[in-house]
């Protein structure tokens, strides 16, 4: 009687072919990103109160907010940093909690105390997710152009154009300067004319609006009318009427000097050693990183045709490069391992059959892994790729050992049937050694050096990472947690 495998060899070949094709197909459609799409149990509260001094900020904003958030259940750690006019609170929740629920709880606690907070305070509550971190970063340089000009160009030309790319959630412009009109009052003049800054402020508030007046009917034609009191340039601001006593019309330029200046910025952004702008691309959660990066590259080539020739946009951070590198290292380890295993089998066992077994086993295993990964809703990221890379090493190692053992047993008992032969071989092997090896870590593949500098430094925080990534890792041999925290747009952003 023929064995099962020889009897159904055609059907089995078809199954193997299907698995291989399925694996190839899932590989092509699998999402690729640096980190798995995990929402970390961290909620960030950012409060902005204009220009309030630090001590006042601490007393009136940070303390009350902290006390309110502290009441939220499942809160583990609360960490805050207060600076002039802003405060950032990070609430680390328990891993088991529903993060959406925690966010709502925090929001409701904040709204309870909202009335006691300063009225102009703006509060944003956000969940932490790798998708809120930029995936591509560009520097924008323009020789001889002012920071204001560059920011205008970035905001009104580059941002809309790059936002057209499918899968982009936000194009964030960091740095540059805003333009401000400065009205410097001449104190002696306003006091002799009986004016106060309050009057001037009111005058300014009352102008600068566009209001609809409704429809106007004239000669059977209907007109839509507006009152347009917008100041359009410096001259119009200078000629603004502050007061009209009948005897004299007092204009803004009579009592003040009007200047256009760069707005004061509290964040300094340097790129390539100069004050330049940074453009950060943030992707939507379910977008393929590699595809997005390629589309972005093509779009940028298009954009550069329309920009002035002295404007240079250079990438300084492309997350896809690290992912591509990880994928490449996995494929490299696969091919090298496969090649070595076959060479070993041919050289030492002198059997083509044995090496052919290895040649089939490994791709089928990997393809099955990919199919399972896809069906589980996983993506290709440094976590899964790392695991695959580690697993490939194990498979190749084990494949050689098992094949070698079967080959040896076969040589010892040349007339034994294959079914009993294999059983004998495996039983011997199990006594001989425990196959499983623990603690294969992520050392075989490269990681994004800057953002994960502290990946293996235990629980230490890393404040040094350029995208504001805080990465820490618990390595206890059995489980590896990776948590990523965002420090916002940090106080000292630097690029390479």
């Amino acid at each position: 009687m023929k064995s099962f495998f020889t009897a159904h060899k055609n059907a089995l070949s078809v199954v193997i072919a299907l698995i291989l094709m399925g694996g190839g197909f899932t590989y092509s459609i699998l999402q690729t990103s640096l980190f798995p799409e995990i929402t970390f149990p961290k909620i960030k509260i950012i409060a902005d109160a204009g220009q309030q001094p630090v001590d006042q900020m601490m007393m009136t904003v940070t303390r009350p907010l902290e006390l309110a958030i502290k009441k939220v259940p499942d809160l583990k750690v609360l960490r805050s940093s207060t600076s002039r006019g802003s405060c950032e609170i990070s609430a680390f929740m328990d891993w088991k909690t529903d993060i959406n629920l925690s966010q709502q709880r925090i929001e409701s606690k904040i709204s309870e105390i909202r009335a006691s907070l300063p009225p102009e305070l703006q509060i944003a509550v956000e969940r932490m997710n790798p998708s809120i971190l930029p995936v591509i970063g560009y520097t924008l340089e323009g020789k001889g152009r002012s920071p204001i000009e560059l920011k205008y160009l970035a905001n009104f030309t580059i941002k809309p154009f790059l936002s057209q790319v499918e899968g982009v959630s936000e194009i964030r412009i960091i740095g540059g300067k805003e333009k401000e009109y400065w009205v410097e009052l001449n104190i002696s003049k306003i006091s002799s004319l009986g004016l106060t800054p309050e009057i001037i402020k009111n005058t300014l508030n009352e102008t600068g609006f566009v209001r609809s007046n409704g429809y106007l009917n004239d000669y059977r034609r209907l007109y839509l009318t507006i009152t347009d009191a917008l100041g359009r340039n410096k001259m119009e601001l200078e000629n603004l009427v502050v007061s009209n006593t009948g005897k004299r019309v007092i204009l803004m330029k009579d009592i003040a000097t009007v200047e256009i200046r760069e707005a004061k910025e509290y964040i300094k952004v340097n790129a390539n050693g100069k004050e330049n702008l940074l453009i950060a691309v943030i992707k939507q959660p379910n977008t393929n990183l590699i595809e997005l990066t390629e589309k972005m590259r093509l779009k940028l080539i298009d954009l550069q045709k329309t920009l002035p020739s002295d404007i240079v946009i250079k990438p300084y951070y492309i997350q896809a490069d690290f992912v591509n590198e990880s994928i490449r290292s996995v494929t490299d380890s696969l091919w090298i391992g496969l090649f070595l295993a076959i060479v070993v089998a041919i050289l030492f066992l002198r059997s083509f059959k044995a090496s052919a077994t290895i040649l089939f086993t490994i791709p089928v295993t990997i393809c099955l892994t990919l199919i399972v990964l896809y069906s589980m809703g996983q993506t290709l990221n440094i976590m899964t790729l790392g695991a695959i890379a580690a697993a490939i090493g194990l498979i190749i190692d084990d494949a050689i050992v098992v094949v070698e053992q079967i080959q040896r047993t076969h040589e010892e008992h040349p007339y034994e049937k294959s079914t009993t032969l294999v059983q004998k071989a495996i039983r011997f092997l199990c006594h001989g050694r425990v196959l499983f090896e623990h603690h294969r870590y992520f050392s075989p593949f490269p990681v994004d050096d800057r953002s994960c500098r502290c990946l293996f430094q235990g629980d230490d925080q890393c404040h040094d990472c350029h995208t504001g990534l805080l990465v820490f890792c618990h390595l206890d041999g059995t489980a590896c947690h990776l948590s990523v925290a965002d420090f916002g747009e940090g106080k000292t952003l630097q690029s390479k």
Binding site: I148, K179, K247, R248, I260, R261
Partner: protein, 305 residues
């Protein structure tokens, strides 16, 4: 058969290619050149001025007073009526005459006692105010009417104190009346007190008094602060600036298709005209009017008609 089909196909392709070639050569605009329009420097008068108010007023107002106690018998004038010196304005009947009647006349006609006293106009002008009706009892020295002297009608310019230094260039001014009429006036002396609230001083502007201008009319005056009668003027559009308006430049044609950036210093700016103080442009130099924004230092341009 097959050859003929091939030939016809080839013909179709060729004609299409010819058509394509023609359409691309129809493009007038050469590759990479910006279409612009040009302008020239114009030499003309340009001034920087402030608009001020002037209010018409009679400097001299004469009161016509009663000379006796009695009853106002006749009022010969109306409000606003133009009068000359010596015109009879009022007739007063003294209260003695009123009570005695014609008794005195009857006693002795040589007294020529009529009891009527006439009040005449002391000057030329208009009746600004009439205080009594006919039949009213009036006392000696009471004001019956106010006459505004027409020759004393002037405009009072409310001049902020800090603009006093420009007075020398504003000896004669153009007054624009609300109906658009313009009259010439001469700034003479100032009144000695300031308006405390608006910190302005009144200056008397004398005008030609042939026109009848009412009192308290507000006229506008372009008070010149700076003036250049032979300024090199460019339209404001032709001048470019950086984001904070600290530097200004214009794009000047260096040959028929190249425009270069030339920094300029501005002088007086009035409306849409800007004076160019330096450098000195000749009248035939071509300066970009439109299409100049955002051009690099040396730009290839094409001039549109």
């Amino acid at each position: 058969m097959r050859i003929s089909i091939l030939a016809s196909l080839l013909l179709v392709f060729l004609s299409a290619a010819c058509h394509f070639g023609k359409s691309s050569s129809d493009e007038v605009q050469p590759e990479g050149r910006v279409p612009v329009t040009i302008t020239n420097i114009k030499i003309g008068a340009l001034n920087e001025s402030v608009e001020l108010n002037a209010i018409s007023q009679f400097l001299l107002k004469t009161n016509v007073k009663s000379v006796a106690n009695g009853y106002l018998q006749e009022v010969k004038v109306n409000l606003g009526q133009q009068i000359s010196v010596g015109d009879k304005l009022f007739v007063i009947r003294s209260k003695e005459s009123q009570s005695l009647g014609n008794t005195v006349e009857k006693l002795d006609s040589s007294f020529r006692f009529s009891g009527k006293i006439s009040v005449n106009s002391p000057g030329n002008g208009f009746i600004l105010q009439l205080n009594y009706r006919e039949g009213d009892y009036i006392q000696d020295g009471e004001i019956l009417a106010t006459i505004g002297d027409r020759r004393s009608l002037v405009f009072l310019l409310e001049l902020p104190y800090e603009l006093r230094s420009y007075l020398s260039s504003n000896k004669t001014v153009e007054l624009t009346l609300p109906d658009g009429e313009q009259i010439k006036g001469t700034v003479t002396n100032a009144l000695p007190s300031m308006d405390a609230q608006s910190q302005t001083q009144s200056y008397i502007i004398r005008i030609d008094n042939t026109k009848s201008i009412p009192e308290n009319l507000v006229a506008k005056i372009q008070y010149i602060k700076k003036m250049n009668s032979a300024a090199a003027i460019l339209p404001k559009e032709a001048i470019l600036t950086n984001e904070i308006q600290s530097q200004y430049w214009v794009m000047v044609m260096s040959d028929s298709m190249t425009a270069v950036k030339v920094p300029v210093t501005r002088g007086i700016e009035a409306g849409d005209s800007v004076e160019i103080v330096s450098p000195h442009f000749t009248v035939d130099q071509k300066i970009l009017l439109t299409g100049n924004f955002g051009l690099p230092d040396t730009a290839k341009v094409v001039i549109e008609k």
